[in-house]
């Protein structure tokens, strides 16, 4: 019988999303920036995602490095984001950055907020 080991929950970023952040940070005049991701109260369903280009983490942030980008997440947001994959969907029909969050039980009609 094959046993699969449980994977530790973390936040991941796809290669496409990481590449786009590098391009975007250049365009924004902040080359080499990293990404602060988080959650804040509000939005129709209770919580909305936040994304900011930053240089350094805060003292208590969790730091995750993938595809040449560092993600900084505050401890409380991490509880609601563990297991999330940050993806990027470009092009004319693209949605931009998408949080594929397994903790989200419901999302609002426009998809920008969620509840757990």
């Amino acid at each position: 019988m094959n046993k699969t080991m449980p994977q530790p929950l973390t936040i991941t970023i796809t290669e496409d999303a990481a590449d786009y952040i590098k391009v975007f940070s250049e365009q924004a005049g902040k080359p080499g920036s990293n990404l602060r991701v988080g959650v804040k109260g509000g939005g129709c369903s209770g919580m909305t995602y936040t994304l900011d280009l930053v240089e350094e983490p805060f003292d208590d942030d969790k730091v995750i490095e993938e595809h040449g980008i560092e993600l900084y997440v505050d401890r409380k947001s991490y509880i609601f984001l563990a297991g999330t994959s940050l993806e990027y969907s470009g092009g004319l029909n693209g949605k931009g950055f998408v949080f594929n969050n397994p903790n989200a039980k419901t999302t609002c009609g426009c998809g920008t907020s969620f509840s757990v």
Partner: protein, 335 residues
């Protein structure tokens, strides 16, 4: 003897109720929850959690707003009042911890701190058409032009706050003082013949003036549109928790029931809160608050299906002593 005492107590209550509705009366509302919420992000966070547009808060102008859950149901009705370096939030009696917990849950990296000051302060309401005159006489402050939720400091009471809320759908001034100054505050009004009304009179006044309360109307069973809280809802603000549901109910006119004022004749039996309401044998709602009988009439509040909320509609409630015929006398939130 007991009958005489009961009659006397009723007469006193009627006189207290008349004081509030015709003159001015003092009501001890110290059981109302009081939170001092401070921090640079306090107003922004509350704006993301509640129905009114708190972007319009100014250092001198507060407002009422409703905390709702993600189903658009009522957590609590709040009065948000700006003070020098913080916001004073009035919650329903006993709800302050729940509201503080709700704010705490949705605080991530924001600079927001809540302190429960309910036990450190007292709150007395001066209620009635002549309440501004009573405040002028007792505190020496002209409040004729004081706007709703705009606080003023009362220096003679060491920085106590006075704010007009019209909580009872009558001119209502809330005087918030330290607990040590409570007796002095009551005495200041007593000296000008503003008598203190009992808690049962206050409850009868609330019900007769169709003011929703956490004891029956402001619960997670109902949404703010059903409860008549439309004046505390902005339909053109940023997203808040529950907005999608509240906005859709409003835009598509899908509100199914409304909080209504009801009256019944006191010769009838007394119905109890929670009693189902029927029309032609069909369930149309439920009673949520029932007042004592006064001047031959009893007052009650209840949620009733929108097809049956027209003024004058007759509705039946079943009580232990038989059927009670009630009449709808208006919607809550519409004066």
């Amino acid at each position: 003897m007991a009958l005489a005492e009961s009659k006397n107590s009723r007469l006193i209550q009627i006189s207290e109720l008349e004081s509030a509705t015709l003159h001015a009366a003092l009501i001890d509302r110290s059981d109302v929850g009081r939170l001092r919420v401070s921090g640079d992000d306090a107003a922004d966070l509350l704006n993301r959690l509640s129905t009114n547009n708190l972007e319009h808060l100014t250092p001198t102008q507060g407002m009422g707003t409703v905390l709702t859950n993600n189903k658009g149901r009522i957590i609590d009705l709040l009065s948000v009042i700006p003070l020098a370096n913080s916001l004073l939030i009035l919650t329903s009696p006993g709800r302050q911890q729940q509201v503080a917990d709700w704010i705490e849950f949705y605080t991530f990296v924001e600079d927001v701190t809540s302190n429960d000051i309910t036990d450190d302060t007292a709150m007395i309401a001066i209620v009635g058409p002549k309440s501004a005159e009573a405040v002028q006489k007792a505190l020496g402050i002209d409040v004729d032009d004081l706007e709703l939720y705009a606080p003023i400091m009362v220096d003679s009471f060491d920085g106590a706050s006075l704010v007009r809320t019209d909580h009872f759908n009558l001119p209502t001034f809330e005087f918030i003082v330290s607990t040590e100054k409570k007796d002095k505050a009551i005495s200041a009004f007593d000296q000008h013949n503003v008598a203190q009304a009992s808690s049962s009179t206050a409850e009868n006044l609330r019900i007769s003036m169709a003011v929703p309360s956490a004891t029956g109307e402001l619960t997670e069973d109902f949404n703010p549109l059903e409860a008549g809280l439309r004046p505390h809802i902005s339909f053109n603000k940023i997203c808040y928790i529950g907005q999608e549901v509240v906005s859709r109910l409003n835009a598509y006119e899908k509100v199914q029931k409304h909080l209504v004022k009801l009256e019944w004749k006191t010769e009838d039996a007394v119905p109890a809160p929670g009693t189902p309401l029927t029309v032609d044998g069909k369930n149309v709602g439920q009673l949520t608050s029932v007042g004592d009988a006064d001047n031959g009439l009893g007052y009650a509040l209840g949620y009733v299906r929108k097809a049956n909320v027209e003024t004058g509609t007759s509705i039946l409630a079943q009580s232990e002593d038989g059927e009670v015929a009630l009449t709808v006398t208006g919607l809550s939130g519409q004066g």
